[in-house]
């Protein structure tokens, strides 16, 4: 019997993978992809809750998250472009002028 718990567990796992990706990858673009993965995981949560609650707010929310994800991707990639132009790198560990 497929329950909401299956979906929630799956989305939790995907979310965690996204978090771990953010924490371990050095490539900005990959990090951004990890964040996308996290957002996707959240979307899955929303949709499953919406389904099991019988309430479409979750769908609206996911719709908005997609818009946000698109916007973030646009700005984020623009930032990466600018970074690359300045530094010739997308390695976040090398982006540490500002510290202490």
């Amino acid at each position: 019997m497929l329950t909401i718990n299956h979906f929630l567990a799956l989305s939790a796992i995907l979310f965690v993978i996204g978090v771990v990706g953010v924490l371990t990858r050095r490539n900005v673009i990959v990090i951004m992809m990890c964040i996308e993965l996290m957002l996707n995981a959240v979307n899955l949560t929303f949709i499953s809750f919406a389904y099991y609650l019988g309430d479409m707010t979750g769908h609206v929310f996911v719709f908005m998250v997609m818009a946000v994800a698109a916007a973030e991707a646009a700005v984020g990639l623009a930032i990466v472009m600018a970074l690359f132009r300045n530094r010739e790198t997308v390695d976040v560990d090398r982006v540490s002028l500002l510290k202490h």
């Binding site: 978090v19 924490l23 976040v92 560990d93 540490s96 202490h100």
Partner: protein, 649 residues
Amino acid sequence: MLGLENIWLVPILPLIGAIVNGLFGKFMSKSSVTLWAVGSTGLSFFIAVIAFLNLLSLDARDRVFEKILFTWIQAGSFTAQAGIQIDPLSAIFLLIVTGVGFLIHVYSIGYMSHEEGYARYFAYLNLFMFSMLLLILGNNFLLMFIGWEGVGLCSYLLIGYYYEKDSASNAGKKAFVMNRIGDFGFLLAIMWIFWTFGSIDYTTVFPSASQVLPAGGFAVTGITLLLFLGATGKSAQIPLYTWLPDAMEGPTPVSALIHAATMVTAGVYMVTRCNALFNLAPTSMIVVALIGAATALFAATMGLYQNDIKRVLAYSTVSQLGYMFLACGVGAYVAAVFHVMTHAFFKACLFLGSGSVIHGMSGEQDMRQMGGLKSKMPITHMTMLISALAISGIPIFAGFFSKDEILLSAFLGHTKGNLVYWILATVAAAVTAFYMFRLYYMTFSGELRAEDQHVRDHVHESPNVMTVPLIILAFGAAFAGFLGLPIIEGGHALNNFLGPVFHTPGAPEHPHASLGLELFLMGFSVSVAVLGILVARHFYYVRPEAATEMAAKGGFIKTVYTTLQNKYYIDEIYDVVIVKPVVSFSRSFLWKIFDVKIVDGFVNSIASFVTDLSSLLRKSQTGMVRNYALAMALGGVFFVGLWILALGN
């Protein structure tokens, strides 16, 4: 007009003199300075005499006059009036102070004529007169305390008169601090008295003393011992006497006035004034008598081998003050006051005489440089001889009567151990006679030993302005004793006059001795004194080289000699035992370690702890974005865990 009503003028006049000379003396001519200074003192003496006569004219029981000028301090139930009180005791002191004071002012005109700070000197001197008179005339303890500290201040200022000399300023400071130690006791005593009696007025405290305080109780013993601590400071008794010999750094008239005739007797005045309290405290009386007797002998021995003419006199003063306290301690207050009076004459005379000698010797104070001044300074010689005889206790001279009365009282006294005091005092009398005549012979007989040709050429008798006071004082030293003729019953004028003051409850009975015993004791003390004189004559007149030979021999005698010359090393002992440890404890522990390292260090270490923490925490800000993300994740885990584990609803 000049009755007792105006007695307040007596202290005020010198104060005016002091203010005028203090503020404007620099801009005034020498003669007007003199006029203000000496004039005010003279006027004050004049009023004092009239007041005294007025007092005499009153019935013996009514001889207390009190006048409140204004309320000085009033705080809650505490009141200290600025009021004047005169009774026979203060009247005697009043006369001594104004009289001797006036003479010394006159003498100073001559002695100080070449000094730079002439006006300053007289301002201080007048201020001293004011303080001393306030001390005597004040109607309560606090006013006495003002005068008490005031005279201490003037003593400080005058000792340090030659402030460019380190020894002078050191001596001044020493005097002040030693006095302060005494004042510490006095101040506490005043507080204790206030909280016991609810007042500090003499007229309230003394009459009710025997009712309020149980005789021999803790309170009265404590109060009197604290008062006596004050007295030991001011009157240079063991253990606070060391300042007085050093005080000789001041100009000689100052030594005569302050450190011989008046200020140092303030302690005696205080003890006699508080006789009502002391009588209730037998233990304190023993302490007073013992300290007095011990000081009398101890100081006398230190005077034996001093070569500075003024130092000899200084130790002699300490010793004589010891006699006075001995008298107080055995309850012979009249004898004490009597001795104060005679001592004022002969000691002032001796000091002024020595001043005259010093003046004549162009400032030389070392007796080894003197000799043979008999012919060159005849008046000085005569007056000093009379005074030396007086202090040695040779009959008909003043000192004989007063000292004899003390010895007699000691012998007969009710106080425990009175015979011990008598022996100490008698030995001291012999020693006194010896060193006084040692001084006399070294100064006046033989040949002039001065090495400096300039000094030799300029030895001269002092001007009249200096010799006249000498003569007057010598006259007093010779004849003042007749005020207290002991033998003629009823002839003891002083006793009759002062009697009412000392007839307080608990006062010891006046000792009665048979005429024979009295005469025997008299004879004994005189012969002891004569012995002392003869020994001195042997060593310093007949065979002047004998003393040096003996000293040169070495061994025990030499040790005694150097010990005496170094005053038993008491100053050095004080220095090593008290002064140095306190200073180095304060400097190397309290300041450099406790204050800087511990108190301040604690505060600074808090600051450095915070900054250390800061630099540690700063390191967490690595600049690595992934570390930041990790921190966020861990923070999240922490809070989730906290919520679930600790708070879970």
